[in-house]
C-alpha cells in the first residue's frame, strides 16, 4: 500500500476558561502547514484560528469515566500516556498553554539565555507546557501597543 504523505499534526492548546469544577473550555489551534520539517514558533503566523465562529470546545474531567475513554481531556489534548500523570485535571488552570503533537524541542544559548526552539518531527509524540515564554512575549507586545501612540501621533 502506498504510504500517504501525511502532514505532521501539532496543536497549540490554551486552557481558556474553567467554567466549573468539571468543565473547561479549550482553545485549540492547529499549526499551519510548514511541511515535514523545519522550525516553528509561538507566533500568530504559525497558528490557524481557533475553532470556527460559533463553535466551542468543552472538556470534562476524568469524572466521566463511564463514558468512552475517547472523550477524556487527556485524549483531546493528546497528552502522551507517559505524561498523563503530570497533568491531572485539578492542575489545569486558565492561561496554561501546551504544544502537543509531532515535534521536538531543542535548546540553544542566545545572549546567555537558554532558548527553546521547536521543530517538526514526524512520528514523535511530544507534549510541552510553554506558558512562561508566552507570558513574556505577550507582555512585551502589549506594552509596545500601549506605547505606540507617538508613532502615529495620536496621543
Amino acid at each position: 500500500m502506498r504510504k500517504e504523505n501525511k502532514i505532521p499534526k501539532v496543536l497549540r492548546i490554551t486552557i481558556d476558561e474553567r467554567l466549573s469544577e468539571n468543565l473547561i473550555r479549550l482553545e485549540i489551534c492547529k499549526l499551519v502547514d510548514i511541511g515535514n520539517s523545519g522550525e516553528f514558533k509561538d507566533e500568530p503566523g504559525f497558528w490557524k484560528d481557533a475553532a470556527k465562529e460559533g463553535e466551542e470546545i468543552l472538556v470534562q474531567s476524568n469524572i466521566s469515566k463511564h463514558k468512552s475513554r475517547k472523550k477524556l481531556y487527556t485524549d483531546l489534548m493528546s497528552i502522551p500516556k507517559s505524561q498523563v500523570d503530570k497533568f491531572p485535571w485539578k492542575d489545569l488552570k486558565e492561561g496554561q498553554v501546551f504544544l502537543s503533537g509531532e515535534f521536538e524541542v531543542k535548546e540553544k544559548m542566545i545572549k546567555n539565555k537558554n532558548v527553546k526552539q521547536y521543530f517538526i518531527h514526524p512520528g514523535k509524540e511530544s507534549f510541552e507546557q510553554i506558558d512562561d515564554d508566552v507570558k513574556e512575549n505577550t507582555k512585551n507586545l502589549y506594552f509596545e501597543i500601549l506605547a505606540k501612540g507617538d508613532k502615529y501621533g495620536r496621543l
Binding site: R25, E27, D49, G54, E56, V59, K135, N137
Partner: protein, 345 residues
C-alpha cells in the same frame, strides 16, 4: 403596549444572539453628518456583528471603540476579524489590561500593533461622552488591576463593566448646572431611568469594588444636608447580566441597588457544538432567583427562560427618557433584520 419607532437620536443597544458569548452593538445618536457612531462591546461572531451594524446604520457608521471586556474566547473570538476590516477599524480599542496567553488574544495584539487604533487600558472611573451619551467605566477597579500580576485576580473579575446614560442635554449643561436650588438634578431626573449597564463577566470581587467605588448615597431629611443630593450610579433600567447568569456573578444586594427593569442574559443552554461535554449550566437558578427578587423582567438570548424564543434583544433609550425594548427572533447563525419598530411584550 404600543409599538415604539426607533429614532435616529436614540441610543440603541443590541445584545446579539451569538450562542454562548457576547456581541453587543451600541448605536449612538446620529451625528449632523448623518453618520452613526458605533461602539462594539465584545464580539463572539464577527460576521453577524458586521452585517448587523451595516443594516442597523444604513451602512453609514464609524466605529468609535471596540471594548474587549476581558479576553476569554467567547468574548473576543471575532475581534481580530473586525480589526482587520478597515470598515470596522475603531478609533479606540479598550481593554482591561488582563493579558491572556491564548492565540486569539495574541492575534488581536499583533493586528493592533500594525494599525492606527489607539489602545486604552481602562479602569474604573474613566468617562467618555459621545453626543449626549455618557459612558462611565465601573470596573475593573484600579485595586484589582494592580493585583493582576499576582494570583489574586481571575480573568472574569478583570472584566470591564460599562454604564451608559443617555442625557437629555449635553455634558456642559449637565456639569454646569448640577443643582437646581439646593436639590440635585440627578435626583430630579430620576437617576437610572436612562441608564444601561453592560456587566461583562464580572464576578463577586469585582462587584464588591464597584459598590465601594460607586456607593449609593441617599438624601436624608433627618440630617438636612446642605445639598439634597442623591447619587446612585448603579441605578439602571437595563442590565446585561454578568457572566451569562452565573451564580458567581450576580449578588442580590447589587441588583437591589440597581433595581433594573430589564435583565438580559446572553447564553446558550443545554447543548453546545462541543467536542466533549454539554453545557446545560447558565443561567444558574440562583442568579434567576436574584433577578426575580429584584423584580426585573428576564430575557435570555437563547429563549430558555420560561420557554421564550431565542433572539437578539434591542433596547432603545431616548434622550433622558424611558427605554423601550423588544426581542427579535433570529437564531445565533442568522443576521436579524435591522429593527425600526420595537414591540414590547
Amino acid at each position: 403596549m404600543a409599538d415604539y419607532n426607533i429614532k435616529s437620536e436614540d441610543l440603541v443597544i443590541s445584545i446579539l444572539n451569538v450562542g454562548f458569548g457576547d456581541s453587543i452593538v451600541i448605536r449612538f445618536p446620529r451625528k449632523k453628518d448623518n453618520v452613526y457612531p458605533v461602539g462594539i462591546v465584545d464580539c463572539n461572531i464577527a460576521q453577524k456583528t458586521k452585517d448587523y451594524i451595516r443594516a442597523h446604520t444604513d451602512d453609514s457608521f464609524c466605529v468609535e471603540f471596540i471594548c474587549a471586556t476581558h479576553p476569554h474566547l467567547d468574548h473576543i473570538r471575532g475581534i481580530n476579524s473586525l480589526l482587520k476590516d478597515d470598515d470596522f477599524l475603531p478609533v479606540e480599542f479598550w481593554d482591561s489590561g488582563f493579558r491572556h496567553n491564548s492565540a486569539t488574544y495574541r492575534k488581536i495584539l499583533t493586528t493592533l500593533s500594525s494599525k492606527s487604533t489607539r489602545t486604552i487600558r481602562v479602569s474604573s472611573g474613566m468617562e467618555k461622552y459621545i453626543g449626549n451619551v455618557g459612558i462611565t467605566v465601573l470596573a475593573p477597579s484600579i485595586m484589582l488591576r494592580n493585583r493582576y500580576a499576582t494570583y489574586g485576580v481571575d480573568m472574569n473579575n478583570a472584566s470591564i463593566v460599562l454604564r451608559l446614560e443617555h442625557h437629555s442635554e449635553d455634558v456642559l449643561s449637565i456639569k454646569s448646572e448640577e443643582y437646581q436650588g439646593n436639590v440635585s438634578k440627578e435626583d430630579l431626573r430620576n437617576a437610572g431611568q436612562s441608564v444601561a449597564i453592560l456587566a461583562g463577566d464580572a464576578e463577586f470581587d469585582s462587584w464588591s469594588h464597584i459598590t465601594q467605588e460607586f456607593p449609593r448615597l441617599e438624601k436624608q431629611d433627618k440630617h438636612k444636608p446642605l445639598v439634597n443630593k442623591m447619587i446612585n450610579y448603579l441605578a439602571c433600567h437595563t442590565i446585561k447580566v454578568a457572566h451569562h447568569g452565573s451564580m458567581h456573578s450576580s449578588p442580590l444586594d447589587v441588583y437591589e441597588k440597581m433595581s433594573p427593569n430589564l435583565a438580559i442574559i446572553s447564553t446558550k443552554q443545554k447543548e453546545s457544538t462541543s467536542v466533549v461535554g454539554t453545557r446545560n449550566l447558565y443561567p444558574h437558578e440562583l442568579s434567576v432567583q436574584a433577578l426575580k427578587e429584584s423584580k426585573a423582567d428576564i430575557l435570555t438570548t437563547d429563549g430558555s427562560y420560561e420557554a421564550g424564543s431565542p433572539g437578539s434583544v434591542i433596547i432603545a433609550i431616548p434622550p433622558g427618557g424611558k427605554p423601550h425594548w423588544s426581542q427579535l427572533n433570529d437564531a445565533s447563525d442568522e443576521v436579524p433584520e435591522a429593527p425600526t419598530v420595537l414591540t414590547e411584550s
